[in-house]
Symmetry: C4
Subunit: 220 residues, 4 copies
């Protein structure tokens, strides 16, 4: 391990992980806590409450979507850092940029839910997620390139597989920006497709798993 | 352990636990921080302050209840994860859903405290807690079924005991929804019963403890 | 260690500590973040900004006091848990009550800073801190009594020393409530005395240290 | 290690680190979450949304700057605590003061972005960062002086190097306060210079690295 000298290997990545988990925990919690109990004058409660609850519904939807998208990135970063064994200043800063993206995601999501009929909302949403995806891939590129912060023995095929899996989302979001000039509905359907692709176990993964199975820790 | 291959066993569950603790810490803290010092013009402080403090009281009550109910789930999840030794993508997602439930609990609690005279509040509250309980049980089912993520040696009786203990709450909440069509007061009393059942040490636990005592880590 | 059977000793107290640190981190951060940049119309900035900043000052003071008082309890709980080696359901619940007290402290502190001329504010402040102190002492009593959750070898003198140190604050706060009927100023001075007693290294500590020095981990 | 007796060495610095990470995670997250989706009446969305988004832009800039400045301090504190092996009550309190500075940073940053044309904003900003830097240096001074909380074997040159690196920022901020009496623009450019100095890898670091390389864990 010729590179160990320029890498701070002790005490490992606990603190980066703690930071990521902290930011994720705060973002998802505050998202949901923002949904407030409506204030209704006592004499109108019986008639107004069901109506007020129905008005809260779209906000709830927006928050659940943010929640799931953030979940996808947390799981992705979680899995990535199972392979990254060491860190240095550059990785810390790439990770801080990634957290900046994570923390800002509620804003574009809110735009799409509230003003989804405007193309600018769809473009800002897709743009934010493209930047987030590219930052996550930059972390992987920096860590795995030349086996800088991963094990020397890591299979190049696994390294490439992670790149493909991470970059799939930004690619589809780029496509969605193009499509948004023709149909906003199709663009928004593409957002749902991305989410399903990452949450559901998919056959592509299983194909790769079976090929990489014998030689490396399984990327589940 | 035939299943180890498809399970990411390293670095263990530290990060899931950190995430759960983070979300719990944030939810309980923000609950209480929301209680603000009332703003009173200087010349009215002497006469208005006691009155203003009395108005804060029901909010305080609502927050203490949320706090205790969240505490019950944190303790439950904490104890459950003492037995879950490994994790994979499915467990991560089940846990993220559980956190979504935890984070949304202040909303239905607030509904019951502010609009407890409306059946819809009671139904939403019980419904949220049923979903939360079922999600927690799904985590246990997924982890313990076929000893997927728990030790091979775990006693099936302990597995069943945890299921019963976790599912007791959703059952009573379901009963409370039925009862709410007849009496809202009785339904709300059932909520208190559930809380006491989980906070107080209870004889059922001790019976099971004594039977399981010799062979497994004690489920306290 | 005859008690190990009824105690969950693995994986130790990491998660309780994580929860405490999380709550403390959130409370102190939100306290300070609440201080907002004043909004001033562009043409009035030059004349109004210094004035607006001076108005923020008392809020800043209130927050620094909360910050330090919370710091005292965090350091206290931190030191206490260096001696507590195991936990069980009762300890979890006592700790959750302690966190409830920690999280509510900004409210009484705000009362004293904004409405310090009213006795009720001083009584609520002292009362909250008495309950917090008693809860912290209850944790220690439960853990150390009969060496339930501490090492068998722990010196009874150290156990008693911790009790005295923890209970000193509630005692002075009780005194402050009595004094508040005569002089609010003296009562508030007692609050400052308590803070200094716990932040500054004090000779009483050193006396005890030197006596306990050879046989136990030093309580610093 | 003659000093070990007066130092609590177990369980190490995990909890201080957890607290720092928690506060940092919360501050950076809340900064970004504060940027809210604008509320626009349905019939005006098409015309008003682009305008409303442009108005959000300066706030976004302010938050990204806070984010990066906080990132600098987190990385700095992170690296410093790789060398600090033990802690005691004094270190806990110095660290709590450092966290107080970290948590208050959004306020002066907001002042500079909103009221950057007023000297008082620039002075408060630079003043806060001078205090933050001095607090961080006080941590290092206390820990490394006489090798109190660092390894006996630590090279005095490394100790001095860390001091120089940490104190560089307060020095430039002091210069910026002086310059602010002549030109606010130059003062604000100095703020940018400091940020770049700490984020970019710089030749001075490399020079020191190469000299310290053989004998100590590399300060990356």
């Amino acid at each position: 391990m010729a590179k160990t000298n320029s890498v701070v290997g002790v005490p490992g990545n606990e603190r980066i992980n703690a930071l990521n988990d902290g930011v994720f925990a705060i973002v998802i919690t505050l998202l949901v806590l923002e949904i407030k109990v409506p204030d209704i004058p006592p004499d109108l409660v019986a008639t107004e409450l069901p109506h007020a609850l129905r008005e809260v519904a779209p906000k709830v939807l927006s928050h659940i979507i943010s929640f799931l998208v953030l979940g996808i990135y947390w799981v992705g970063q979680h899995n990535m850092f199972m392979h990254i064994k060491r860190h240095n200043r550059v990785l810390l800063w790439l990770d801080i940029l990634f957290l900046l993206c994570m923390a800002s995601m509620p804003f574009p999501t809110g735009l799409v839910v509230q003003y989804g009929q405007e193309q600018i909302s769809v473009v800002i949403y897709a743009g934010t997620l493209i930047i987030t995806g590219l930052t996550l891939d930059a972390i992987w590129w920096y860590a795995s390139h030349d086996h800088r912060l991963v094990d020397e023995s890591m299979d190049p095929k696994l390294i490439a597989f992670v790149h493909r899996r991470v970059l799939l989302a930004p690619l589809i979001y780029l496509l969605a920006i193009g499509v948004s000039f023709i149909s906003l509905l199709v663009a928004k359907l593409l957002f749902v497709v991305v989410a399903l692709l990452y949450i559901l176990p998919n056959p592509l993964d299983h194909y790769h798993h079976s090929k990489l199975h014998e030689q490396v820790t399984v990327w589940d």
